[in-house]
């Protein structure tokens, strides 16, 4: 018994340090599920399906509407900004390809939505020019929350939705390349890392069909 007590006393500091460390890292990573900034935002956001954030948007044609009011078809939504040199141009290219595929198939059940993360730099008329550059596809909406919006408050809404966005040391937006699917009832259904192909989207839509 005395020897056991000696062993226990010898093991206590090491075990206590391990428990403290385990608990600290467990808390910091939300149960060892989020080691990166991206996964932390996703894990700490409310699970889907859920309502999209209430953001007032102006599209490339000048119409103003609330994001949760999008109804009647599926929308694949992404975020970026026009002067972005990271993943945004790639995502725009992928959205353009999907738009062309939808047009070729005569589909009207799915549309695309790109929302700017830099409202001050990307006014509606700039979005209109880019939209025209891509051939003015009817099934692709480009929208902005408007120049007067509080950027940090707007980004905080996106973080609550499950998207990581912040600014770099020069003040430029940095963000993940997550895309979100909104169903015809206006509910955020799920998100994807990157842009899903039309085949993947069709599988998701098929699974959704009652």
């Amino acid at each position: 018994m005395g020897q056991l007590s000696t062993y226990a006393k010898a093991a206590f500091p090491g075990l206590a340090a391990l428990v403290l460390l385990w608990g600290g890292i467990h808390w910091w990573t939300l149960g060892y599920r989020s080691f990166t900034s991206y996964s932390y935002v996703v894990e700490s956001a409310a699970p889907m399906p859920k309502a999209p954030p209430s953001i007032l948007l102006t599209d490339q044609l000048g119409a103003t509407w609330l994001l949760p009011s999008l109804r009647g078809k599926y929308y694949l939504m992404t975020f970026g900004y026009l002067s972005c040199g990271g993943t945004c141009p790639i995502t725009m290219g992928e959205f353009y390809q999907i738009s062309e595929q939808l047009k070729a198939q005569g589909r009207t059940d799915l549309a695309l939505l790109t929302i700017t993360l830099a409202p001050k730099w990307d006014p509606a008329d700039s979005l209109h020019r880019v939209w025209q550059h891509y051939g003015a596809p009817e099934d692709w909406i480009l929208a902005t929350p408007g120049e007067g919006v509080d950027r940090e408050a707007y980004w905080e809404q996106l973080r609550h939705m499950g998207m990581w966005v912040d600014q770099d040391r020069q003040g430029y937006p940095v963000h993940d390349n997550r895309t979100f699917l909104i169903n015809p009832q206006g509910v955020l259904l799920r998100s994807f890392v990157g842009t899903p192909s039309l085949d993947v989207l069709d599988q998701v839509l098929l699974a959704e069909t009652p």
Partner: protein, 183 residues
């Protein structure tokens, strides 16, 4: 040594130096973090005699845990963007270095060898993740920076392991496994 330690810590905390080292992942991982730990280890003092081996082992685990915490990508991201968090990281790593120096003293040679191997394994595992991941792990650095940092860290880990194993073999042959290196 105290002046060298504190001088190194102050040098790494100068905003311009800090900004430069924070700007590239390889510089941060291979220069800033190791130098902050080194600054802590250089702060010599009469601390080791205060600890018996069990307490020293507890302090060793905590110190290594602090280093591990600041290698979590989310922690690194926060340190790069936030000045307060960055200062906290500097202080934590400096104290972790001091903790490692203090705790390794009372531990016997076999535990010190195992600790070195474990720390290298942890470092190399993180390096592999950075090097092999097709996606950005740290949001504050580009994918190219991340991969080159991972590759450099792998080389550094390999070099450290080689030196550590060679010096361990020499010490084991000279002193035997139960001996303390200072004896």
């Amino acid at each position: 040594m105290k002046i060298l330690s504190l001088g190194l810590f102050v040098l790494l905390s100068i905003p311009l130096v800090d900004f430069y080292l924070d700007g590239d992942m390889a510089l941060q991982m291979l220069v800033q973090i190791p130098l902050l730990i080194l600054a802590g280890t250089l702060l010599t003092g009469r601390f080791s005699h205060l600890l018996d081996p069990p307490k020293a082992f507890g302090l060793f685990i905590l110190s290594l845990g602090v280093v591990f915490f600041w290698m979590i990508p989310r922690s690194l991201d926060l340190a790069v963007v936030g000045d307060g968090v960055d200062r906290l990281m500097h202080l934590c790593l400096f104290l972790a270095g001091l903790g490692l120096r203090t705790s390794l003293g009372p531990l016997n040679l076999m535990i010190r060898i195992a600790a070195g191997i474990y720390a290298t394994a942890m470092w190399s595992a993180f390096a592999l993740i950075l090097f092999q991941s097709p996606a950005q792990v740290c949001a504050r650095f580009t994918l190219a920076q991340q991969q080159s940092a991972g590759q450099a860290m792998l080389w550094a880990g390999g070099c450290f392991l080689t030196v550590h194993l060679l010096s361990s073999v020499v010490l084991l042959v000279r002193l035997g496994p139960k001996e303390h290196p200072s004896t």
